[in-house]
């Protein structure tokens, strides 16, 4: 299969991107300044991320669609206000996570942002579950551009008037170059920011204007260090079919109202786990010293018993030290529990810690 390119490909080249293949797309891993600088620039100023490889699934429908989607997602969708977003997951009947996603209520139905590597499979699953009752478009004509960091609101507002008034996890249609763009105040870096859904033909122009106003392109490398510092999960690593939302410590994203009724896919297991607890759970892990424990690193307790595995680990440029998350047996999941990580045959001390590693600064109550 041919490797796909996003509509910002030329711009990435102009900015000396180093490319990697990711989920069938040629994506920038970093630009000339490198991951650490790009990471810090996002935290201190404003970074632009091409996330056009992610799926933008529009599902059109009304009251009946809401009912049908509530059978799939553990969300109180009937009370989700127009232009408001929720984080959720597509589960299988055993509550295994098939993808994590952001769902937004729009005028004509819902917009769901899906992971690039999962989007085609998600589309197939949802189409079957919804029995082809609704028009569904996995829109390849739109790019998705994220702008993240404390200066992003001001910068984007100069290009698209009015966005600064959006609240976190809500969105709206705006105009750029007389084109309708859908913008949500959201992101995956732990910073205030926006995600812009825009027709492919206009993505390059918009991004160049944002760069002119002082933002900079940031690659997938820094996106990974930023999201990990923010304690956010990466599908295929921290989340997969062998993990449930309760095990992933994401029960905050499950609607309490829906649990009481328990009529969504995977609800039996979710309710059971909420009542009886889980055997393994996702935690933050802070190695002592500088040692980096990467994915698949084994975790041991003080008696040298294997109790879990790292699912993401790197060096956090803003924390200025190593950061990791992983799954451990429940009894070792308490904050400050001492554990040992096996790296290149040696065991290194680490501590279970609360997430995020880096404090979020989302925009709340702007209005």
């Amino acid at each position: 299969m041919e490797i796909k390119k996003t509509s910002l490909y030329q711009l990435h080249q102009d900015c000396n991107a180093k490319f990697v293949e990711f989920a069938g797309y040629q994506m920038p891993i970093q630009y000339s300044e490198g991951i650490v600088e790009e990471h810090k620039f996002t935290r201190n100023h404003s970074g632009i991320f091409d996330v056009s490889h992610m799926g933008q699934l529009f599902i059109y429908g009304g009251e009946e669609l809401i009912k049908d989607l509530e059978k799939i997602f553990p969300l109180d969708l009937k009370n989700l206000k127009l232009n408001h977003s929720k984080y959720s997951f597509l589960m299988d009947k055993d509550a295994g996570i098939q993808d994590d996603l952001i769902i937004t209520k729009i005028d004509e139905g819902f917009l769901i942002i899906l992971n690039a590597a999962c989007k085609d499979n998600d589309f197939k699953i949802l189409k079957e579950l919804l029995k082809e009752k609704y028009k569904m478009v996995l829109d390849e004509n739109r790019s998705l551009i994220a702008i993240q960091g404390p200066k992003s609101s001001q910068i984007l507002n100069e290009v698209v008037d009015g966005v600064k008034d959006l609240n976190f996890m809500s969105g709206n249609w705006f105009l750029f170059d007389n084109q309708k763009v859908y913008i949500t105040r959201s992101g995956y870096t732990g910073e205030d920011g926006f995600e812009i859904s825009i027709l492919n033909n206009f993505a390059d122009k918009l991004t160049r204007e944002l760069i002119d106003k002082g933002s900079k392109l940031v690659g997938l490398g820094a996106r990974d260090t930023l999201r990990l510092e923010a304690g956010l999960c990466l599908y295929g690593h921290d989340l997969d079919k062998d993990k449930t939302p309760v095990e992933a410590n994401l029960k905050w994203a499950i609607s309490k109202e829906r649990i009481s009724k328990g009529d969504f896919i995977g609800s039996d297991i979710i309710i059971k786990q909420l009542n009886n607890g889980v055997t393994k759970i996702r935690v933050g892990i802070k190695p002592e010293g500088r040692i980096i424990a990467r994915e698949k690193t084994k975790i041991f307790n003080q008696s040298d018993v294997h109790i879990g595995e790292i699912t993401s680990g790197t060096f956090g440029p803003s924390v200025n030290g190593p950061v990791a998350m992983g799954y451990v047996e429940n009894e070792f999941s308490k904050k400050n529990t001492k554990v040992f990580l096996e790296v290149r045959g040696k065991k290194y001390a680490a501590n279970i810690c609360s997430l995020p590693f880096y404090k979020k600064s989302y925009a709340k109550g702007v209005n």
Partner: protein
Amino acid sequence: MSEVKYSKEHEWIKLEGEVATIGITKHATEMLGDIVFAELPEKGSSVEKDGTAGVVESTKAASDVYTPVSGEVVDTNQEIVDDPSKINQDPENSAWFFKLKIKDKSEMDSLMNKDDYDKFAKEANT
């Protein structure tokens, strides 16, 4: 006069008398990106030509550092362990990795000179 030689694993080595100073090349640091972790061999340990003698890690991945010649580790550069970003800043000078009392000077013969290495690195890059 000391001569600097280079290995295919992108280490540089500078021999002064019996003691060789070893580090990684600028080209290597450019390929690795920002280095955020460095591990060095223990002082007093012996290392064998082409064997592992340390580790560097970028935010993305870990890479082994090899020694281009055999010998006994007589010194290591703690500064790059404390601040690995120094490796990106000055890889072929102050950010050396370790010093060896070398066993066999003839092991230097198979290594590349600067011109050959530059050519090799350029080709490896394409």
